[in-house]
């Protein structure tokens, strides 16, 4: 037994890079979280936003997803893309992080810098990342108004997102919170928990929204 442990230690020591640099978050990940559950129990919706959320939820119950631009092949946007039943590949370089999502080949680009750059509002927003050991921090601003989740919870163009993730010690789980700050939609900042599990190495299939049936699009809401 001792010999086996010694051998395993030697092999790991020989193979693992002798670096104290940042941990590698890259790989293929699958979202575990589909529905937003706020930390603390309630979502502090302002009255107008509450009315929109209720109308969307009522439509969804009827099977009417007209409120959801994904059904017209627009991008899911942030943070919704991280709650979609679709795997994504996380790529990591010294200067940037990237995600490539299977659903409709959408992607995020997240420079590892301290300040946001210039740019127009977009579905994925302007994101900047930082890494501290096994923790990954991403701040996103300049988002166009859209949906936070498949239930139709709205957000405005004033949304600021803060993602804080921690990689588990076995490297198989990425979990943490997404903080929502949007004074046009919510009376106070709030957060919800999210997690992702690592998938075995594989290639993402080519997924083209305009080639999907409505049933396939509904499954990817």
């Amino acid at each position: 037994m001792k010999r086996a442990l010694l051998l395993a230690g030697l092999l790991l020591s020989a193979c693992h890079p002798k670096s104290s640099g940042p941990i590698d978050f890259s790989g293929l990940w699958m979202p575990d979280t589909k529905v937003v559950t706020p930390v603390g129990g309630t979502i502090p919706l302002l009255p107008a936003a509450a009315a929109v959320a209720k109308a969307n939820a009522t439509s969804a119950e009827r099977g009417d997803f007209g409120f959801d631009n994904w059904m017209k092949c627009s991008l899911h946007g942030m943070p919704r893309i991280m709650l979609t039943a679709s795997p994504f590949r996380l790529l990591q370089t010294p200067a940037k992080l990237y995600t490539v999502h299977a659903v409709n080949h959408s992607y995020r680009v997240m420079p590892i810098v301290a300040k946001h750059g210039a740019g127009e509002p977009s579905y994925m927003g302007d994101a900047i990342a930082s890494i501290d050991g096994d923790r990954l921090h991403i701040e996103t601003t300049k988002l166009v108004a859209g949906l936070i989740d498949r239930e139709g919870l709205p957000h405005s163009d004033a949304l600021k997102l803060t993602e804080d993730y921690k990689l588990s010690s076995d490297g198989q789980t990425l979990s943490g919170t997404i903080r929502i700050e949007d004074p046009k939609t919510f009376s106070a900042p709030w957060s919800f928990a999210v997690s992702f599990h690592r998938l075995a190495p594989a290639e993402l299939p080519e997924n083209i929204c305009v080639d999907l049936t409505d049933a396939q699009k509904k499954a990817l809401r």
Binding site: G21, G27, P94, V109, G117
Partner: protein, 242 residues
């Protein structure tokens, strides 16, 4: 297909790498990311220099077969008459290869060692190029095909097959079949400011012999890709092309 024997990794190094990979996977550990950009002159954001609807052969005319010539002339005539034929990008499908390399929108090349990813601004096309391995067997036909690559010095050589025949070689309408085989040689200049891409096209259905074309790209520190959501214009595009 690339010749794996030419990639410059000796057998013992390959065996050691595979052994280490197995150990790390079994241990559930992840390797550290590269601490420096592996190919800094290529790993940048690039924009095309000039624009031309056609990929023109470096020498001579495109060696069409009669069937290839008939399709190309039909598409050119439709273009001249203003009655464009549909091609996949008109309806927000991926452009295809090499068609995507003539887009007037920038793209970012990201080298992460075992994979090179090209993020195109236009219609959020993403190409994924697996390095130092042969094409897998039985891959389906896709709009962007199956790409594998290797480095020859600072030149990235990308080999692509299994492309859906609905895509066009170029915007003018050169056709290809599902037998298309594309080899791109992407070479950055010594000063890192320009990129030369040589493209070899082989398709025995529509061309009598392989032929080569070329594009050049430029970069600067301020260039970055933006979000381009083709799908938000679908209604207008459908009206235009119906």
């Amino acid at each position: 297909m690339i010749n794996i024997g030419t990639i410059g990794i000796t057998d013992w190094k390959r065996r050691r790498s595979l052994g280490c990979l197995a150990v790390l996977l079994l241990a559930g550990a992840s390797t550290a990311p590269p601490r420096t950009v592996l190919h800094p002159r290529l790993s940048r954001t690039w924009n095309i220099i000039g624009y031309d609807l056609q990929f023109r052969p470096i020498s001579g005319d495109a060696p069409f077969t009669p069937a290839g010539k008939a399709i190309f002339e039909r598409r050119l005539a439709a273009y001249d008459k203003g009655t464009l034929e549909q091609e996949p990008p008109n309806q927000c499908r991926p452009h295809g290869v090499p068609r995507i390399m003539m887009s007037p929108y920038p793209f970012e090349i990201v080298d992460t060692g075992d994979r090179v990813t090209i993020f195109h601004e236009v219609a959020h096309n993403v190409r994924s190029i697996l390095m130092n391995q042969p094409h897998p067997a039985n891959v389906p036909l896709t709009y962007l095909g199956n790409s594998v690559g290797h480095w020859e010095g600072e030149t990235l050589v990308v080999d692509t097959i299994r492309l859906r025949p609905e895509t066009w070689i170029d915007e003018a309408g050169k056709p290809h079949s599902d037998k298309l085989h594309v080899v791109e040689r992407m070479t950055p200049s010594v000063d890192g400011k320009t990129l030369d891409v040589r493209i070899r096209i082989e398709d025995p259905v529509y061309y009598t012999r392989p032929w080569e074309t070329q594009r050049s790209f430029k970069t600067d520190a301020t260039l970055k890709i933006a979000e381009y959501v083709c799908e938000d214009g679908l209604g207008a595009a459908a009206d235009f092309f119906k």
